[in-house]
C-alpha cells in the first residue's frame, strides 16, 4: 500500500538524515539536509496525497503500553491534508537550506541543526498521525522541544535565547491545558484512544463541554498564535534562521489549528453556540492586532510574524463560523466555514513560507532585515523580487492569487450568518466581519510597504547597493512556492472539493455540493438541483467550458437559503484568463501606438535638486506613520529618547528621538502574568529558608496528606 510505504520510507529517511548528518563532515551537512530532507518530504507527500485524493485510510497499531493502552497512528483524509502541506512546505525549505545554511558554517553546529531538523520533521508528522492521547502528547512535546531548540539556534544573541525561553514556557503552558482537555475526555471515556474518546464524548454535559473547549482552544491556541497567549510568536519567528521561520509559520502554527480541529470537530463536535462565538471573537481580535503591529513594524521577519498572527486569526474566525453553524444545526454552512478555514490555512502555509524564504534571501545577501535600510533590490535581485511580490500579493488577498479565494470564502461564510435566528449571534458575526475587513485593508498597506520599501526605490544603505542575486538553490524553491500560490488561487473549484473531502472523515463533507455544484457533469447530481437554481447559474455562464474541462466547473457558486436567496459567485479561473488576455491586448496596443515614438529614459523628477540622496526618499517608518498616528491609543509608544543638542545657544546640531511601542498583548497579558507569577514565586521562595527542621516537617506533612487522600478516594 502506497500510504504505508510512504510513511515507512519517510521515517527511515528522517532517521537516516539525522544519522548521516552526524557522520558527514560539517560542510556537507547542508547537502544532507537538502537531499534527504527533500526525499523525506516527497515520501510523506506521496503518502498524504494518496490518502487525501484516493481516500484509503491507513491505520496501524504501534506498541502497547501497560496502563496506557495501544498507541495508534492513522492516516485519514484530514491528516492527509495536513501532512501534504507539511511535505510540500518542507520540500522547498530543505532545498533552500542548501545555500542558506552556509552562513552558519564555522559559527554554530550544523550537525545539531540537521538532527533537530529531522527530529522536528518526524515529530510534526507523528502529531498529525497520532490517534491516541499518549502518542499525540509525546510527539507534541518532542515537536515543541525541537522547535524551541531550532529557534534558539543562534544562541549567542541574547534576544534569541529570551525568545526561545518564552516560546518554551508559553508552549508548555498550552500543552498542559491541552493535555488537561484530553484527560477530561479520557476520564469520561475510560480509555486513551481517540475512537473511544469520540464515542464517549456524546454523553458529556455542557459544563464539561465548555471546559474541554476552553482548555483545548486556548491550549492549542498558544501554538497557533492566537490572542491572548501569542506574545512568544513575534519574538520567536524573527529569532530563528529563515528556513526554520518558514517551517514555524508555515507548519507549526497549523498544528495548533489541527489540535483545535481534532478536539472540537472530530472528537467533540461543537454543540454550544457560545464556543463558536468565542472562537469568532478571538479570531477577529487576533487578526486585527496582528496586522496592526505588522504594518507598523520595520523588521521584515517580525512583520511577517505579526502577519502570521493575523492569518491564524482569519482561520480561527472561519472555524468559529463553522462551530456556530454546527451548533445551530446547519451542517452545510458549517462545512463552508470549515472549508474556508482550511483553505486559508493551506494558502497561508505556502505564501508565508515563500515570504519567509524571501526575507531570508534578502538577509542572506544584504545582511539586514530592517526595511529602512533596504531598497532598490529589484535590480540586482529580480527573481527574489518577483517571488516576494507574488507572496505579497497573495497575502494581501489580491486577485487572482490564493489569498483572495480563501478570504473571499471566509467572508462569505460570515455573511451567511444572516440566516441564523439569534440577533446577538449575528452581531458577533458582524463585528468579526468588520474586523476582518479592516484587517484586509491594513494588510494591503503592510505589504505594499514591505515590497516597495524593500525592493523599489533607491538603496538606502551601502549593503543594499552592493547586493547580488542569491544562488539558484535558494531562488528556485521560492519560485516553486510562488507557482503553488498561483495555482491554489486560480483553481478554487478543484481545491474546495479536496478540502471538503478531507472534512468528510470528520463528518462534514457538505461543502462541495454547496460551493461547487456539479454543474459540468451530466450525472444525476445535475437533476437534483432545483430548476430555477440551474437557470440562474446558466445566466452566470457557469457552464462555460463544460465539454473539455474536467471537474465540476470553474465558478465557485453558492446560493443562500430559501429565506435568503442571493447568489454568491467567484471565478478566479475565468478571471485569470481574462486578465492575461487583457494584459496581452494592452501591451500589444501600447507597442503598436508607440511604434514610431522615440522612448527616452530620463532621471526621476525630484524638484531640480542636483542629486537625490537616499535619505531624501520615503522610509518604511514614514510610510506607515499615518497608521501609527491613527491607532496611537492602542499602540501607545513610549518615548525612549527625545533630546536636542544645541551649540552656542541657538545652533541646533542634533535632534534625537526614539519611540518604542510595547505590544498591546504584552501590556495586557504577558506583563501582568509575569508580575503575578514572580510575586507568587517570591511567595513560594519563602519556603526555602534553610531551616532543616521545617523541611522535615514538609516531608511529614506531605506523607500525612497523601495518606488522608488515599483514604478518602
Amino acid at each position: 500500500m502506497i500510504e504505508a510505504a510512504g510513511i515507512i520510507a519517510f521515517f527511515i529517511l528522517c532517521a537516516s538524515g539525522a544519522l548521516v548528518g552526524l557522520l558527514t563532515p560539517r560542510s556537507q551537512n547542508p547537502w544532507v539536509v537538502a537531499v534527504l530532507g527533500a526525499a523525506a518530504a516527497v515520501a510523506i507527500s506521496v503518502a498524504a496525497a494518496a490518502a487525501l485524493f484516493v481516500g484509503r485510510a491507513y491505520a496501524a497499531d504501534l506498541w502497547s503500553l501497560p496502563f496506557a493502552g495501544t498507541l495508534h497512528i492513522c492516516l485519514d483524509r484530514l491528516s492527509g491534508l495536513f501532512l501534504l502541506i507539511v511535505g510540500l512546505v518542507y520540500l522547498p525549505a530543505s532545498i533552500f537550506s542548501a545555500g542558506y545554511l552556509r552562513r552558519y558554517l564555522g559559527h554554530y553546529s550544523l550537525r545539531a541543526f540537521t538532527v533537530l531538523y529531522f527530529a522536528l520533521f518526524a515529530s510534526i508528522a507523528t502529531v498529525i498521525l497520532a490517534r491516541d492521547v499518549i502518542s499525540f502528547l509525546l510527539a507534541w512535546e518532542l515537536m515543541s522541544i525541537a522547535s524551541v531548540l531550532l529557534v534558539n539556534y543562534e544562541f549567542e544573541v541574547d534576544e534569541t535565547v529570551r525568545a526561545g525561553y518564552l516560546m518554551l514556557a508559553m508552549g508548555e503552558g498550552g500543552t498542559i491545558a491541552a493535555a488537561l482537555a484530553f484527560l477530561i475526555l479520557a476520564n469520561a471515556a475510560g480509555s486513551l484512544d481517540f475512537e473511544a474518546l469520540r464515542a464517549a464524548a456524546v454523553s458529556l454535559g455542557p459544563g464539561a463541554r465548555w471546559t474541554v473547549f476552553l482548555l483545548s482552544f486556548f491550549g492549542f491556541g498558544v501554538k497557533a498564535g492566537l490572542v491572548p497567549f501569542n506574545s512568544w510568536l513575534p519574538r520567536a519567528h524573527p529569532a530563528a534562521p529563515a528556513n526554520v521561520s518558514a517551517l514555524l509559520s508555515g507548519l507549526i502554527l497549523n498544528l495548533g489549528i489541527y489540535g483545535i480541529l481534532r478536539v472540537n470537530v472530530d472528537i467533540l463536535p461543537a454543540s454550544l453556540v457560545g464556543t463558536g462565538l468565542v472562537a469568532l471573537i478571538v479570531g477577529a481580535v487576533s487578526a486585527f492586532v496582528g496586522i496592526l503591529y505588522a504594518t507598523t513594524e520595520n523588521d521584515a521577519k517580525a512583520m511577517l510574524a505579526h502577519s502570521s498572527i493575523e492569518n491564524m486569526g482569519i482561520v480561527t474566525a472561519g472555524l468559529g463560523a463553522g462551530f456556530v453553524f454546527t451548533a445551530a444545526g446547519r451542517p452545510v454552512l458549517a462545512g463552508i466555514g470549515f472549508v474556508a478555514a482550511l483553505y486559508h490555512l493551506t494558502n497561508h502555509s505556502f505564501y508565508k513560507a515563500l515570504l519567509f524564504l524571501g526575507a531570508g534571501t534578502v538577509d542572506f545577501r544584504v545582511g539586514t532585515r530592517d526595511l529602512d535600510h533596504l531598497g532598490g533590490l529589484i535590480r540586482p535581485m529580480p527573481w527574489t523580487a518577483l517571488y516576494f511580490l507574488i507572496g505579497s500579493l497573495s497575502i494581501a488577498a489580491m486577485y487572482p492569487f490564493s489569498g483572495f479565494a480563501s478570504e473571499w470564502l471566509t467572508l462569505q461564510a460570515l455573511l451567511r450568518s444572516a440566516e441564523l435566528p439569534s440577533t446577538p449571534v449575528k452581531l458577533v458575526f458582524a463585528f468579526t466581519g468588520v474586523a476582518l475587513a479592516l484587517t484586509a485593508g491594513l494588510a494591503v498597506t503592510c505589504f505594499v510597504k514591505a515590497f516597495a520599501m524593500g525592493f523599489l526605490g533607491v538603496p538606502r544603505s551601502r549593503r543594499a547597493q552592493e547586493a547580488t542575486e542569491a544562488p539558484a538553490s535558494m531562488v528556485a524553491p521560492m519560485g516553486a512556492l510562488a507557482i503553488v500560490c498561483l495555482i491554489l488561487g486560480v483553481t478554487p473549484t478543484f481545491v474546495i472539493p479536496a478540502l471538503s473531502r478531507s472534512l468528510e472523515s470528520v463528518g462534514n463533507g457538505h461543502a462541495t455540493a454547496a460551493l461547487v455544484p456539479a454543474f459540468f457533469s451530466h450525472s444525476a447530481d445535475h437533476s437534483s438541483l432545483p430548476a430555477d437554481f440551474r437557470s440562474e447559474f446558466h445566466d452566470l455562464g457557469a457552464q462555460t467550458g463544460e465539454s473539455f474541462i474536467p471537474g465540476r466547473g470553474l465558478v465557485v457558486l453558492h446560493r443562500g437559503g430559501t429565506d435568503n436567496p442571493v447568489i454568491f459567485a467567484m471565478s478566479t479561473s475565468y478571471g485569470v484568463v481574462v486578465l492575461i488576455v487583457l494584459l496581452a491586448v494592452v501591451v500589444a496596443l501600447t507597442r503598436w501606438i508607440a511604434r514610431n515614438r522615440r522612448v527616452t529614459r530620463a532621471r526621476i523628477w525630484d524638484g531640480g535638486v542636483r542629486q537625490l540622496f537616499p535619505e531624501m526618499t520615503y522610509t518604511a517608518t514614514g510610510f506607515s506613520n499615518p497608521v501609527r498616528v491613527v491607532f496611537d491609543a492602542i499602540l501607545r509608544p513610549r518615548t525612549v529618547e527625545d533630546t536636542e543638542q544645541t551649540v552656542a545657544q541657538h545652533f541646533r546640531v542634533a535632534i534625537r528621538r526614539t519611540r518604542e511601542p510595547t505590544h498591546l498583548i504584552d501590556r495586557l497579558v504577558l506583563n501582568v502574568l509575569v508580575t503575578h507569577l514572580t510575586r507568587f514565586a517570591r511567595l513560594l521562595a519563602r519556603m526555602h529558608h534553610g531551616r532543616v527542621n521545617v523541611y522535615v516537617a514538609y516531608v511529614l506533612g506531605t506523607l500525612v496528606g497523601a495518606l488522608i487522600l488515599s483514604l478518602i478516594l
Binding site: L612, E615, A620, R657
Partner: protein
C-alpha cells in the same frame, strides 16, 4: 539715555568713539579691537534697546573693515568698527550672543573668505559646495566678477546636513523647482512621517551677485540695480539707495519730491500687502477670497501703471528726487481709486474673519514667539506680529515720515492669523499716510537742482513692505560705486523661518510659507 552711551562705552572698553549728529539722527561710531567686539555687541543689544541691523564688510587697500550696524528708537544708531590687516581675516564670531549676526557672518565667510572664529557652521551658504569650490571669495577685489572662473571643482561628496537622528527619519526635498508658480529655493523637511521635525532651507539659488556687479558702475546705473534686484518692492529699495547717495552728497530733496516719495512708497506697500493677503488666501485654498484679493491687487497695479507709466514703479526714484512730476488731477483720481480699493479690502477682511475654516488653518500655526523674534532680530510685519513693534519710519524717521500721523500695529501671538491681521492693519495705515501726503502736497520742483556726488560713504534705509532695509554705499570721486551692501528684510526674516515650520504637518508648510510672505529674490540678491 543715548547721550550716556558714549560715556559708558569709553568707561568700559576705553575705545575710540565719534559722535555724529545730523538731520537724520544721532550716530555713534565706535572703533574697537577684536577682543572687545563680542562683549561690546552683546552689551549694546542687551542693555541699550538697540537692535542689530547688519554687517558691512569692506576691503580697503591694506585692511579689512567690518562695520556692525545697530539701530534703535529715537533715531539713535551705533556703528561698531573692527579692522584687521588684509593677510589675517580672522574675527571673533558674535553669533551665539547676537544671534541675528549668524547669517551675516556666514555670508561674509562665503563671499569674502573671512573666518569668524567660534561660529559652528561656516561654509555652503551663498555659494553651494556642490556647485562651487571652497575659497572662491568672489567679493574680494582681486576676483573678476564679470566672468565665471574656468576651474570649477565642486565637492563631489557633498551631502545635506542632517539634524534629526531618529529611526526611519528622512528629509523630504521641496524645490528648488516646486509648486505652480513659486520662487526657487530648496527646503529639506526632516520628518519621521507626519510632522516636520526640522525644516532646513537652502537659499541663494537665485544669487546674482548684485553687490559685486554694482562695483565699478556709475552710481546712477547702480540705482537701477537697487530697484531691480527685488522688483515687487522696487520703489522702497530704490529709495533706500537714493537716500544713501543723498546722505553722501548732503543733498536736500525738495519738499514736493519728499511728499510724493512718501505717497508712492505707501502705495507700493498697499499693493504689496494686498498681494500677500492674496497669497495667504490661495495657500489655504479659499479660492473666492484669493480671487477677490487678486482683483484688488491687479487694480492697484493698473493704478500704478496708469499714473507713473510702470506697474511696479520702476524708473521713478532718482538721486535728488523723482524723475517726473504729476498733475494734481491725476493724483487726485489715483488717491480716490485707492481709497475705494482699500474699502473693498477691508470688506474682504471682515468676511475672512467670519470664515472659521480659513481661520482654523492660520490660528496657532507657524508660531514665532516674541523671544525668538527678539533673539533673531526680526523686522517688518512678521516681527510686529510677534510683539516687536519696531518700524523704521518711527524709530529712524526718514524722508519726512516724522511729520505724518500713523500707527504701527502690533500683535503678540506670532501665528499666521496675527501676521494676516498685521497686513490688513498696515494697509489701513498706508492709506492714511497717502491721504495725508496728498492733502499736504506742496508745489515746487521734484528734483534738486545741483545734483553733484562727491566721494564718501553713507547708510540709507527704508521701511520696505517686508521690513527694515539698509543700503550702504561707498562712491569714489568719479561717481562710481566702490562698495554696495544691501541688508534686505527678507534675509533677516528667512533666518527665523525654520522656527515657524517645525512641529507642524506637511500640509501646513505652504500655509506657513505664505503667511510669512517673504521674498527669495530679495534674500538672494
Amino acid at each position: 539715555m543715548h547721550l550716556r552711551i558714549a560715556e559708558q562705552i569709553s568707561e568700559q572698553w576705553a575705545t575710540n568713539i565719534r559722535v555724529h549728529r545730523d538731520r537724520r539722527g544721532l550716530r555713534y561710531e565706535v572703533q574697537t579691537g577684536s577682543e572687545a567686539l563680542k562683549a561690546l555687541c552683546t552689551w549694546i543689544v542687551a542693555t541699550q534697546e538697540l537692535a542689530f541691523g547688519g554687517l558691512v564688510v569692506e576691503q580697503d587697500t591694506s585692511e579689512w573693515l567690518l562695520r556692525y550696524l545697530f539701530y534703535g528708537p529715537e533715531a539713535c544708531r551705533v556703528d561698531v568698527l573692527v579692522r584687521q590687516p588684509l593677510a589675517h581675516p580672522q574675527f571673533p564670531s558674535i553669533g551665539d550672543a547676537v544671534h541675528a549676526a549668524d547669517w551675516h557672518e556666514r555670508e561674509a565667510e562665503d563671499l569674502f573668505g573671512i573666518v569668524f572664529e567660534g561660529h559652528p557652521r561656516l561654509g555652503d551658504f551663498v555659494l553651494h559646495d556642490d556647485a562651487w569650490q571652497e575659497g572662491l571669495a568672489p567679493m574680494r577685489k582681486s576676483f573678476n566678477g564679470r566672468e565665471a572662473p574656468i576651474q570649477r571643482t565642486p565637492n563631489a561628496d557633498w551631502r545635506p546636513d542632517r539634524i534629526v537622528h531618529a529611526p526611519g527619519a528622512f528629509g523630504m526635498p521641496v524645490g528648488p523647482v516646486y509648486s505652480g508658480v513659486a520662487e526657487s529655493a530648496h527646503f529639506l523637511l526632516e520628518t519621521v512621517g507626519e510632522d516636520v521635525i526640522r525644516a532646513q532651507p537652502r537659499f541663494f539659488y537665485k544669487y546674482r551677485a548684485v553687490e559685486k556687479t554694482a562695483e565699478g558702475r556709475d552710481a546712477m546705473d547702480a540705482l537701477l540695480l537697487a530697484e531691480r534686484f527685488n522688483g515687487i518692492t522696487a520703489f522702497a529699495h530704490g529709495l533706500g539707495f537714493a537716500q544713501s547717495l543723498e546722505a553722501i552728497g548732503g543733498l536736500e530733496v525738495p519738499p514736493r519730491a519728499l511728499t510724493l516719495r512718501v505717497l508712492f512708497a505707501e502705495l507700493e506697500r498697499l499693493r504689496h500687502h494686498t498681494g500677500a493677503i492674496e497669497g495667504i488666501c490661495e495657500s489655504t485654498a479659499l479660492v473666492v477670497a484669493a480671487s477677490q484679493a487678486a482683483i484688488l491687487e491687479e487694480e492697484l497695479l493698473r493704478l500704478s501703471g496708469e499714473l507713473t507709466g510702470h506697474r511696479y514703479l520702476f524708473g521713478l526714484v532718482i538721486y535728488g528726487g523723482l524723475s517726473r512730476d504729476f498733475a494734481d488731477a491725476d493724483l487726485c483720481t489715483a488717491v480716490a481709486r485707492a481709497q475705494g480699493i482699500l474699502r473693498r479690502l477691508l470688506a474682504l477682511e471682515r468676511k475672512l474673519t467670519r470664515t472659521s475654516s480659513f481661520l482654523d488653518r492660520l490660528e496657532q500655526v507657524g508660531i514665532v514667539t516674541p523671544e525668538e523674534a527678539h533673539a533673531f532680530g526680526l523686522v517688518g510685519p512678521i516681527a510686529r506680529a510677534s510683539g516687536l513693534a519696531r518700524d523704521l519710519r518711527v524709530v529712524q524717521p526718514y524722508g519726512g515720515y516724522g511729520d505724518y500721523a500713523f500707527e504701527v500695529p502690533n500683535e503678540r501671538e506670532g501665528d499666521g492669523y496675527a501676521r494676516l491681521r498685521i497686513l490688513f492693519a498696515e494697509a489701513r495705515q498706508s492709506m492714511r499716510i497717502i491721504e495725508q501726503a496728498f492733502a499736504r502736497l506742496p508745489g515746487g520742483s521734484v528734483r534738486s537742482a545741483n545734483a553733484g556726488l562727491p566721494a564718501g560713504a553713507a547708510l540709507g534705509w527704508t521701511e520696505a513692505p517686508l521690513g527694515a532695509a539698509f543700503h550702504w554705499v561707498r562712491v569714489d570721486a568719479r561717481g562710481a560705486v566702490q562698495r554696495y551692501r544691501i541688508v534686505p528684510p527678507s534675509f533677516v526674516n528667512w533666518h527665523a523661518f525654520h522656527l515657524a515650520a517645525e512641529a507642524f504637518a506637511f500640509q501646513d508648510f505652504p500655509i506657513i510659507l505664505a503667511s510669512f510672505g517673504l521674498s527669495i529674490s530679495e534674500n538672494d540678491r
